[in-house]
């Protein structure tokens, strides 16, 4: 059968040539459109390292000096501190709230701001004899007012996999570190009680948590949580609600009832925003949502073009071969056999077109690299990982496979639709019309 099909394809090479060229162009175009989508989807599957569900941030805002509600006598640090303490206490008293945490401004996973620093590890030396320095993302919290950042985020202990166990030393500054930090600094994770140093002094490591993703779509990297002795002047308030609470009803209740309890001085509560919503917002803000839409539109366009190309070519060929098909049917060929012949022809065209397209794609990747849908800052600072999008050959193979399967399915569907129409014809009709 294959020989007959190849013979048939060669005889109709002029018409097939157009479809072949289109399939080569579509393969290249589709590969380039799918590549950024693949990267974003693959990066979207990187575990956050904390429990994002049921996690909320309280949004506080301040009346500007020119606002009707502004009061000059309340515009000082002591009133501000009192208002924020009151807000923390008010949130803790909400019956649906399980944990409350504080952090410095938006400096928490997917919070929108990023602080980096480095610590010196006295006990580990580099090859040139210097103390090892570990660069990392820094989060801050106080845990001085009954607030518990690690529990609020649901961090897990890197040694046990259970909720994070903290062994604080009240005589020195305490520091929680992530698994990557521990491995880079000491080469192991059981480092509770070890010391690291920064310009403020020594820090006691009071726990090791599993890595958390700081910014959406980036690989988790070394991070630390500094436990400040007192609440920062510019802290943000986060909280986790209990399991089983109806989130929609809670959000409505917060807006109508709880938000007013948090107001004071020149501050008012604008509402709450879930961590999941912040992640989605970040996707839009950094343009990833638009990249997704654009590349999806281009992918759909290429597939529709391929589909129309296959349908029109095979439909015309099927019409031109009505007599052949009539003869085949009269000597006992089933309609399935005719459909199979057309589908095989389409599949062979796709295979050859894709083989021709691959060197072109490889040349593009070699010369210009893979797509880079992350913004320039993140691209520069993101570290390589073992994830599929960071291993070149796996990345290339995965995108090629996805592209090939999609084109094949579209071509097979297009050929089958055209063939089924003609395969149902009665042999007598086909031969009489000729």
């Amino acid at each position: 059968m294959i020989r007959t099909i190849l013979h048939q394809m060669w005889n109709e090479r002029r018409i097939n040539g157009w479809l072949f060229l289109e399939l080569v162009a579509v393969s290249v175009f589709l590969w380039l459109a799918i590549d950024p989508l693949f990267i974003l989807v693959s990066r979207g599957r990187i575990p956050a390292g904390y429990r994002a569900e049921n996690l909320y941030k309280v949004e506080m805002a301040k009346y500007q000096k020119t606002n009707l509600k502004y009061r000059a006598e309340a515009d000082n640090d002591s009133v501000k501190a009192a208002v924020f303490r009151n807000a923390l206490e008010a949130v803790r008293k909400i019956p649906e709230v399980q944990y409350v945490g504080t952090c410095f401004m938006g400096n928490y996973p997917h919070g929108g701001s990023l602080s980096s620093t480095f610590y010196v590890v006295d006990s580990t030396q580099t090859a040139d004899g210097k103390n090892k320095e570990v660069y990392c993302v820094k989060y801050s919290t106080s845990m001085a007012e009954g607030d518990d950042w690690p529990a609020t985020f649901g961090l897990t202990d890197a040694q046990t996999g259970e909720p994070l166990h903290i062994v604080r030393n009240e005589n020195v500054r305490n520091l929680l570190v992530s698994r990557s930090f521990a491995m880079e600094a000491f080469g192991r994770v059981n480092i509770t009680g070890e010391k690291v140093e920064r310009w403020e002094g020594k820090y006691n490591i009071c726990g090791v948590y599993e890595d958390v993703q700081t910014i959406i779509y980036t690989n988790p990297k070394a991070s630390v949580i500094e436990i400040e002795p007192a609440l920062s002047k510019d802290f943000s308030l986060l909280f986790r609600i209990k399991e089983g609470v109806d989130r929609e009803a809670f959000e409505q209740r917060f807006k109508e009832e709880y938000a007013q309890r948090l107001a004071g001085g020149n501050f008012y509560c604008k509402g709450i925003v879930s961590n999941e919503a912040e992640r989605k917002d970040m996707i839009e803000l950094r343009g990833y949502g638009n990249t997704f839409r654009l590349q999806s539109a281009l992918t759909m366009f290429a597939l529709l073009c391929a589909f129309l190309g296959v349908v029109s070519t095979f439909w015309m060929r099927a019409n031109a071969r009505r007599r052949d098909i009539g003869v085949m049917r009269s000597v006992g060929a089933s309609s399935g056999r005719i459909v199979a012949q057309f589908v095989t022809e389409a599949s062979l065209l796709v295979i050859v077109a894709f083989i021709v397209a691959l060197p072109l794609i490889m040349h593009k990747v070699y010369a210009m690299g893979f797509a880079d849908p992350l913004d320039a800052f993140l691209s520069r600072h993101d570290e390589k990982s073992d994830y599929i999008h960071d291993v070149a050959w796996m990345h290339f193979a995965a995108v090629s496979l996805i592209t090939y399967i999609i084109i094949l399915l579209v071509a097979v569907a297009g050929a089958a639709i055209s063939a089924r129409r003609i395969a149902g014809i009665l042999p007598s009709d086909a031969l009489r019309e000729e």
Partner: protein, 421 residues
Amino acid sequence: MIRHYLRQAWAMMRQNRLFSAIYIVGTGLSVALAMTLFIIFYIKLGPVYPEYNRSRIVYLDQITHVIEHGNNYTAMNRAASQSLCERLRTIEGCEALAMVAGSYRYDFSVNELNECRGLFVNNDFWRVYDFKFVAGGPFGDTQSAAVVVSADFAMELFRATDVVGKEIIVNNTRNRIAGVVESPGGCTPKCYAQFWLPSSHTLCEGEREAHPIIGGFRVAMLCRSSGETAAVIAEVKSTIERLAQEQPEGNSFEAKIGEHWKLALGIEEDGATLLDALSKYIYILLALLFIPSLNLGGMIASRMAGRMDEIGVRKAFGATNGSVLSQVLCENLLLTALGALLGLLLAYLITLSASSWILALFDGRVNRMAPENVITVEMLFNPTIIAITMLLTLVLNLMAAVVPTLFALRKSITYSLYNKR
């Protein structure tokens, strides 16, 4: 003759309905995406209300005071921008100079509303931007207690647009409405606001006004013609250099100056041209045209194979290759034009239904605080968009039909006539 070809094309179109449908859909798909691309860039770069003078405007969008071994301060306060503007106004080719402060991120309290968007502008603002006044007119430079509001904002506040003479309280201060303008949309963020106050208004002074430069002012200069923008930019740069030389040692200025298109596309390189900036989109456009044209070319090649006898007869009666080619092009033009019309309607549908995000489709970052885009009829139905659609139709028709027809015409008359037997 063309009429005859078109009548024949119409008859063939009705005869081969599936062929015609696939052809029209294929063309429509290509034109829809290509035109969506064009519409996005037309709205971002073309003359749209109230930024009809985009090609003639030069922006001094941001100026940074760089202090050696110290902090850098970005943006200008009123005093700094006024003193700079006095120098810039004398530049040859500058027709008007608008000072604009407060951005669309700025929140005001107006009457009982907390978050409204306002701008502080000088009198030249109304010359640089072509606002249509539905009532009243612009305020003068000296009128510090006047305000111009947009029609939508007037409706929100008073349920009417004829509100000249009424008062609104902006940030605790009473302002008399001097004029009401047709509402601009978020597609023109440089001048978008719900209300505009005179730049002499004291409320725009920020907390950090003490610093010699910090503030929220930017400058928009209207040049006499678009050809003069390069010269004006060069002159602005040299003016800022002279200003820097007057500062104490270790102080300098870095300015972000450019035409509208440069700032809209985020281009910072000095020598970059519009073509350089748009080159990556041109590749997308070529792909949008090339792939469907291969598809359509294949379909025409199939049809030409079935019409070899007709071509043979026509050539036997003296028709030249040129006349047969023009016949095929004419016939296909009907299908391509119908596809293009479908595509243009689809492009309008895509643009309108995705108006909230589609203009930022090619932007690296999306501004969370950006005002809502309003796509108007004027932006979609204008001569430029129609002309581009017609051009695309012709290009697509040529790309799809010429090669397969020429291939068919290479055959001899006898081969063509024998082919039917």
